[in-house]
């Protein structure tokens, strides 16, 4: 069976700076993949290229058997590729419930037979909020939320589009250990339901617990790809993180 996500020879430059070079990556259906790397190694740039926010100069991305090249970000979202942002980017003028209404209207609603009536929209947004524990804040604005609630909203919005693949870009940065466990439980629950997950994270405890496979980016190159316990013993990875 072909992989759900296939990345071949992907490169991205910003002017003279090479952010990513020759990235090859396969992610299988149902997999839990951890993506790590030092700051500035190109993790978020890779996410942006996969999701269509940035355009890669070379290489191509296949998702669910379809070529993604040239497709806009909203098209990719509708095909089942969802992402959360490293720094939460809610819609500040819309209530928490209405933040979730957007992907329900524009991702789910754009699929054949996906159009939801007013009652169904309310119900679905309510379910998602209950799932992340924000049900009592449905009518509040994102500005009223705490940091962890904001990250939960970010995940809920990504999940609302019923994705096949969810890329969680540092969904746990700055959270306390129990809050990290909350988010991990949420992601594990999603994965159980069949969603493939790419977790980008600095918190090694979370990455090691969650990931079935670990990929390491350093300075725009993929330097390791394999079982987590093997990867962290890999000499190149140790060198990248700790120096010689």
């Amino acid at each position: 069976m072909a992989a759900l996500l296939e990345v071949r020879d992907l490169s991205k430059r910003f002017g003279g700076f090479v952010a990513l070079e020759g990235i090859d990556l396969d992610v299988n259906q149902g997999e839990r993949l951890g993506l790590i790397g030092p700051n500035g190694s190109g993790k978020s740039t890779l996410v942006n290229c996969l999701c269509g926010t940035l355009r890669n100069e070379t290489g191509n991305v296949h998702f669910d058997g379809l070529a993604m090249d040239g497709l806009s970000a909203h098209r990719r979202a509708r095909l089942g590729l969802a992402r959360s942002f490293q720094l939460p980017r809610p819609f500040p003028s819309l209530s928490i419930a209405d933040n979730l209404r957007i992907p329900l209207l524009y991702v789910v609603g754009a699929r054949p037979g996906g159009g939801l009536g007013e009652a169904a929209l309310e119900a679905r947004a309510g379910e998602l909020l209950a799932m992340v524990g924000l049900a009592d804040k449905a009518r509040r604005l994102p500005g009223d939320l705490t940091q962890i609630e904001m990250r939960k909203l970010e995940l809920a919005r990504a999940m609302a589009g019923e994705p096949k693949l969810l890329i969680a870009d540092e969904a746990m940065a700055g959270l306390s250990p129990t809050e990290v466990d909350d988010i991990l439980a949420l992601l594990a629950q999603l994965n159980e339901a069949g969603v493939t997950i790419i977790l980008i994270e600095h918190i090694m405890r979370a990455v090691m617990n969650f990931s079935e496979r670990l990929v390491v980016l350093v300075a725009g190159h993929k330097i390791a790809d394999g079982k987590p316990e093997d990867v962290i013993r890999n000499a190149a990875v140790v060198e990248a993180y700790l120096g010689q």
Partner: protein, 332 residues
């Protein structure tokens, strides 16, 4: 849990609104038309034609402010070029008048079409510009269009052109009364369209563009297409407001058609009233429009923009969300 499959992304189906929503929207349209007719009857009962001349301008500003707000308030793209869209409507009316004079309603439709297409074109050309750069581009567009019209002999060039309007219209009576009635109905239509957009899928999409375009795309919102819809609808209503203008003034020159006052007022009115809902531009237009008309009669016509400026500064400092914002804050 998953429903996505291939080939589905291309389709853009609009979920049918619930019957109750459809009924509410029909009720609103009926109410808006009723208010327009009431305004007409009220103006008639005064028995002075000046009421129609002054009222027409206020109604025209309701259309312009509402149109501006569809782009500026809902999607957050500030258009400084209202005068260009307005004048495009007015001058397409002049051209029609010179070639084949048709009923006023047809002129309005043509004016709307012309300005809507200009809106679409401006949208395409300025898509990559955000914030203040978009605003500067619209201002530049207005200057370019004014130069083109000034050098177009057929519509009178810089000298301007006379448009002789019929003295009266059957049933309604005096032509100025007819113009007032038409503009009142157009205002009702514009407000209804704005309200329709607000609660719809389109309105939610517009709000996400205003809030965060990158996050909007990630949530499936086709930002490019929605921005084009906004510039087109907004431009079209501005053109429709401008189409009857030559018949109102009977003499149109570029300086009056492209008057800065249109750009300033159509921004100031929604800001004073509140940009979040359809009611804001209406309140702002009635308030500022009436004050301007009163000042013109009682003090001087040169005072208009000064008044607008002072009021706007006051609101920006004391009530940045406009009158509607103040009202909503009061609510528990």
């Amino acid at each position: 849990m998953r429903r996505g499959d291939k080939g589905s992304a291309a389709r853009e189906n609009v979920a049918a609104p619930a019957p109750s929503a459809a009924r509410r929207s029909a009720t609103f349209l009926a109410a808006a038309v009723a208010v327009a007719l009431l305004a007409f009857l009220a103006a008639r009962s005064v028995g002075n034609d000046y009421v129609f001349f002054a009222g027409y301008v206020v109604l025209q500003y309701i259309v312009l402010a509402t149109a501006w707000n569809i782009l500026g308030g809902y999607t957050g793209y500030v258009n400084f070029g209202t005068a260009a869209f307005f004048a495009a409507g007015a001058y397409s009316s002049v051209v029609l008048h010179k070639l084949v004079p048709l009923p006023l309603v047809v002129h309005i439709l043509v004016g709307g079409l012309v300005s809507g297409l200009i809106g679409l074109g401006v949208g395409y050309l300025t898509l990559r510009l955000r914030g203040v750069f978009f605003s500067i581009a619209t201002l530049a567009m207005a200057v370019v269009m004014q130069t083109l019209i000034t050098n177009w002999e057929f519509v009178g060039g810089s000298r301007g052109t006379y448009v002789i309007r019929p003295a009266a219209v059957p049933i309604v009576g005096d032509y100025i009364q007819y113009l007032f009635l038409v503009m009142a109905l157009l205002a009702a239509l514009a407000v209804w369209v704005a309200r329709q957009i607000e609660g719809s899928r389109l309105g939610y999409g517009f709000a996400t563009i205003r809030d965060d375009e990158v996050a909007a795309e990630a949530s499936g919102v086709p930002t490019l297409r929605l921005k084009l819809i906004a510039t087109t609808v907004s431009g079209a209503f501005m053109g429709m407001a401008g189409a009857p203008y030559p018949y109102y003034v009977t003499y149109l020159d570029p300086a009056s058609g492209f008057n800065l006052a249109y750009a300033v007022n159509s921004i100031a009115m929604p800001l004073v009233g509140g940009t979040a809902t359809w009611a804001g531009p209406v309140i702002g237009a009635i308030l500022l429009g009436s004050i301007q008309q009163l000042a013109t009669v009682t003090i001087s016509s040169a005072l208009n923009l000064l008044l607008v400026g002072v009021i706007l500064v006051g609101f920006v400092i004391a009530a940045p969300n406009g009158i509607m914002g103040l009202l909503q804050k009061r609510r528990p």
